[in-house]
Amino acid sequence: MMKEELETANRPDNTAFTQQRLPAWQPMLSAGIVIPGFVLIGLAFIGIGVALFIASQNITVLERDYTGVETVSDCYKCSNPSVKNCTCKLDFSLSNLFEGPVFFYYGLSNYFQSQRAYGASKDEYQLSGDLDYFKTPNSACSPYQYDANNNPIVPCGSLANSMFNDTFKLYQMVNGTKKLVPFDGKGIAWWTDYNIKYRNPSVTPLKNAFNGTVKPPFWSKPAYELDTSDPSNNGFVNQDFLVWMRRAALPDFRKLYRRITEGDYASGLPAGNYSLEIAYNYPVLSFGGRKKVVFSNVSWMGGKNQFLGIAYLVVGSLCVVMSMVMLIVYAKFKFPEDDK
């Protein structure tokens, strides 16, 4: 017995793994799976497509360009960069109730927030309230790292410096008088940005933290004065600032400015005439950019986007067509079973 064991000392182990006999599932692209699969996927996609399409159709969007390129536009007068503190008006009327909650966006075109150098030009540590970085901002912020007097810029970098600074006021024209539509500026930024990512230094008053620093050159007021009325919306946790700092992926983008959720407008904007008062500060014409405002409501699938619904419908239909083709091919050329 012992001898026998010795003789087979080199015999490989008999396991499913070493002998490559692991049990396995071996799916195959057979007609019984593929054709019904395509039909099912096709039908499901058409269903989803219809739902998406309807949802998207039900969303109302009101979009107005206010760059002031055309001379007829009221904002034409402000489009010249040399004009300061310019205010212009944009009138529009709604024939039906604009169902709420209504979201008010500003949009920019041909604006490359997606540019790598632009996106990198900020200091994460500084923005998370680390005072060390108030004094020596990240070099990625250059040329908005230090000002001419070598004072550190806080918040530093191109991204923060170029913060959108047009402001809007919406009035409903009721019997000739302007009725201010209340804007809600709270909760327009991501919860994580507001609570985790961006933090003010824990110094009170906040202004002291900024001692020895200067504001970004394009800014009219320093960060600690962005919203003096509400300390929880001031400094780095200012909601407008947060929205701006979440840079867009594509050169045409829109960013949430305000929500219209209060008072008489909680259920939407009633039919009527409206006037949007714009403090026109932000220059875009120099690089061929455009500015616009967008009023929109949302559905379960987010904002208005026709593409997804149509794409689903097209893909679904193609699947069904393809399944027909495959059925015909299958019936005609049927897998040759007999030979070999």
Partner: protein
Amino acid sequence: MQGQTADPVPQGTALDKQPSCQTWRGDSVNMPPFTSSRLRSEKWMDVHVGDIIKLGNNQFVTADLLLLSSSEPLNLVYIETAELDGETNLKVKQAVTVTGDMGDNIHNLASFNGEVCCEPPNNRLDRFTGTLTNAGQKYSLDNDKILLRGCTLRNTEWCFGLVLFGGPETKLMQNCGKTTFKRTSIDRLMNVLVLCIFGFLAFMCTILAIGNRIWEQLWGSEFTAFLPRQGGVDASFSGFLTFWSYVIILNTVVPISLYVSVEVIRLGNSFYIDWDRKMYHASSDTPAKARTTTLNEELGQIKYIFSDKTGTLTQNIMTFNKCSINGKSYGDVFGYTGQRLEINEHTDTVDWSFNPLADHHFSFHDHSLVEAVKLKSPEVQSFFRLLALCHTVMAEEKIEGELLYQAQSPDEGALVTAARNFGFVFRSRTPESVTIVEMGEQHSYELLAILDFNNVRKRMSVIVRSPEGKLCLYCKGADTMVYERLHQSCTKLMDVTTEHLNEFAGEGLRTLALAYKDLDEEYFSWWKQRHHEASTALEDREDKLDLLYEEIEKDLMLLGATAIEDKLQDGVPQTIEQLAKADIKIWVLTGDKQETAENIGYSCNMLREEMNDIFIVSANNPDDVRQELRNAWSTMKPGAEEAANFMPERTLGNKPKVVRDEEVNGEYGLIINGHSLAFALERSMELLLLRTACLCKTVICCRVTPLQKAQVVELVKKYKQAVTLAIGDGANDVSMIKAAHIGVGISGQEGMQAVLSSDYSFAQFRFLERLLLVHGRWSYLRMCKFLRYFFYKNFTFTFVHFWYAFFCGFSAQTVYDEWFITLYNLVYTALPVLGMSLFDQDVNDMWSSQHPQLYIPGQMNQYFSKTAFFKCSLHSVYSSVVLFFIPFAAMCDTVRDDGRDIADYQSFALLAQTCLVITVCLQLGLDLSYWTAVNQFFVWGSLAMYFTVTFTMYSNGSYLISPASFPFIGTARNSLNQPNVWLTILLSAILCVLPVVAYRFLLIQLRPTINDKVMFKVRQAKAAPPPPARRARIRRTSSRRSGYAFSHAAGYGDLVTSNRFLRRPAVTRSTAFTPLGRTTGFSPTGRSAGYSPTGNALNSRPQDVEVTSLQMYRTVPDPAF
């Protein structure tokens, strides 16, 4: 292995490296004589030229030696050269008398003062020229006095030899060929592809750099209000920088991890070979071994196999298998119902206990023959008596009852052993007598004459006088020869025996016919008188003897026939059949004789009766060889191309033109011998040889030297774009094993040379089928699937960056999170594809061997080629377009369902990378045809890993630890809870995968490959698995019969009957017969005629070598008769 060396170097020996003997001579003569000498063990590596080595029985010869003396009479030694040339018969070498007289007197040996002058090291196994000078006397040295490295000493207790060539200078090593670094064709293709990819990378980066240049000029210069230019960077310089930035970002197209993964996969697949129990040989306890772990996928692409014969196809064992005695056939086993039973290990064997002298290694299954012997049937008795008497075997009986036969050919040994076991024991012989034990009684027969074998006569006879005084001639030989000389009264018996012979031949057995004749005293003495005259005649001695032999060998009485099996290794014909079905061409390259090789060709089913023609090329000059090859060509392709086309065409480069496969009607075989091959391998003829050979179904090259084996392999490698495999077991196969793309060594035998230079080794030829059809095919399939998928996943991953460049101002902004880029290849996609390439199998091993045709796509490089690569690149382009533009369009201007931002860069990055990971996983699932639990775990695990890692890295905790490292905080939470994000992921994944599904489905329906067909069959047969592959013995219908035992060389008879042995009795052996005799008979040591690659005269000896006394002596006629 250790040889014993007399130490130190005895003086008076020198090696001359120059053809002229001038340079070294002076040194050697002046060496002082050495006095104190002793033997000591040394390693092979310490054996040097000039050492004297003592070798023992069954030891390998360590270097090329000049035989000095031996234990045997007349200074003979017996060697086996199977390792060198594949021949299995023993060969005899004889020392020069002047050294031989010293015997084992070490002092004399060490003080012997002589000088050897010899040719420079070369690779000619069959010739040697040199002289030995001692005391002013010159002795000529030829091949008969040289023991070559790689031989094995047999039946010789000891011998002393002087090292002439050692190490790399030995003839064996000179034949070994160069070791080259082997790489697979996929490796080479991959290198080309990687270069192309580099080019493509540069191309993409250039486009993007130009894009950046334009963008900077048109937009960037105006956007400076918000994004000021860095000092000194103008548009052109920015483009230049962008080029390099994109080189860094897009470098993932050049898959650096590819090489690592490829090696891991090969390693894994090599382990499967080591672990395979079906390639484990239990009786020698040898598992298969992948000695090289980098060639696996090449195993799935073999087109040509070059096989050795001895020890590879055959077991090198001859067994007495069947016989026909007096019209009755013995050897088959029949069941109760009378049907013939298959003989296997469990078949009952004959019990030899009745015979104390029996050899118990011999087994026979038919009990009826033993019964017949025991019943003392006279025909059966004389049958075995003939076998016990008519041979040239010598017996050795060191211990009473333990006989050891020294047969010159294994066939003879088998026959005498058979007779021994059946109670007719050949015990000993003297030149005048043969002593046998017949059923327990000892009889001594007077041996009157041996009518020896030669290749023309194809028979041998002995004339003996029985103890009763009866004169009798016993003859055995090729049936055709014997039948011509039979007495008329045997006609009836002839018919029956012929039937049996056909049957035996049909089973691939070597047959011999046996006959006897009673002689009357008067006639014989008259004959003997004439024989004596003839054998002393100075003119036409051979012819005269032949005439005399003819005269006495007539009117013979037929006794029966024997059938000897040159035992093939198990399953060889089946394996060859399977490999042939897989469209693999097998060429047998052997050093053995043409007849033997041909015979094995038939028994392996490589040559068949029903073949249209079998061409034999055996000419001795270039023109005849060319003519024979041309004839063969024009027979196969009548009216085809003219001879001009056979000149090797050279295109402008140095690469020879690749010869395409040609079609031919019918099946042909080609047998070419070493001499012809030497001419045919010359430049002017090699193309003709190759194209002719490639038209034939079977090619057998016999009598080839090791180097020629390699040359044949190189020839095929040169002109055919095909993968070659060489398989062999001996040192003579090393060169071809090294030359072929894949070398396989048969392990578990004595020699290790072949195994040591091989890439794969296992114990049995039949495992080759599994190695190629199962392991090779899987490896190739897995490697190709892996490569296709790997390129796909990396290209898709990278091309998305390219599309995004158009929307980020060509600013080298990555689409994905940096962490994702780092982890994509390492963590998210590494294991599933590794799992695929380690576990995937389209059909299991059983079906693989059931359908050898599945192997063919590999030979045609169908799974991975430049086209396949191009297709998978296009596929990735499509996928990357979908993976970028679907999320792009779906996210454009949209917001979350609470109105907040979702079209931001971070969300977009997350969306794109999630789409990508899910798509490549789906694609993998589509490619994966064998979902083991491990694969499931890897695929799902990777996906789970992706989400786990993503959520972890985007969590508050990570951000608080290092804000700059994890800036994507919250993205996953804010984005992946949106239905439209998931709908986008679903859409892009489906859009990437469904067209592939449809395409593949339609392809299966419209143009199903062999794989599809077999997989379909597997599905159908899932319920009822097919019967195991046939292992039945292939029965040939051939009526072709082999002649005499082919490994037999002529002239042994002279030695046996020579009287001169008495002058020099054996030193150590007192019993038994001591052979001796003149040495002329032993000259054909395998390749007497030799070959000459250059066509020089073969036997031209250097003129300065004088004829020695020994040579003169050899020309003296033998006065034996």
